[in-house]
């Protein structure tokens, strides 16, 4: 298996899933092609300016930045539906349309869900 697609469709912070997906994607970078695909509520992860200090949990946008070599693609229709199109987004991500998102899934040897 040479490539893995991590699919995150859960919002950050409300659940450990986003943190779990980021960590799993990060450890897979050594030796595999890794894509983290954000879909549905998962797209909330890319809003810039997250500050989770007072919540006492890891800052997930900082983690995104610290793995700059991780390819993160964001399903643009999900982003638009959620009213995020006008928001400032984390810079290291890639907005893609539905076709490109599905194609990235198809081009990976495996898909892991969060």
């Amino acid at each position: 298996m040479k490539s893995v697609f991590y699919l995150l469709d859960t919002a950050p912070y409300g659940s450990e899933k986003a943190f779990g997906a980021l960590n799993a994607a990060a450890v897979s970078l050594a030796g595999m092609n890794v894509v983290l695909g954000l879909y549905g509520d998962g797209v909330y992860l890319v809003v810039a300016g997250q500050d989770s200090t007072k919540l006492g949990v890891p800052n997930l946008s900082d983690i995104l930045y610290s793995y700059g070599e991780l390819r993160v693609i964001v399903h643009e229709p999900s982003l638009i539906e959620r009213g995020l199109f006008g928001e400032i987004l984390v810079e290291t991500i890639e907005l893609v349309d539905e076709d490109d998102f599905l194609e990235a899934m198809e081009n990976s040897d495996s898909v892991i869900l969060f």
Binding site: M1, A24, M32, S110
Partner: protein, 126 residues
Amino acid sequence: MKTLTIVLTDGPYISEYAEIACKLAEEALKQYQVNIFLYLDAVHIPKKGQNPSFFTNAGELFTGLAEKGAVIRACARCAAARGYTAEEDTLKGSNCEDYLPGIKISSLYELSEMLKKSDKVISLSR
């Protein structure tokens, strides 16, 4: 021999995925190498002493899979958060005294190693 890896993220009873993983693994073990990685709440699956009156005992299913040769590993961070500690010694194939035999706590890097060596991956998650 081909290898199948199953990735789980949910605990037992609240979802059926532990049982489905077991059915998949049972069939696959007849011909293939099977790895199972327990992540997030799935680290609860191998806990000793489960006594579900109305459901199948998930822990027993998994220790049975380990006996048949499945490699079952639980994420160390997720396990520690939930009160399962990895010891230095391994007893009956496990390095956690709260776990059933044959199932070990290991680093998340083990997931990556399992994936690299796999022909196919099945991910079950709520």
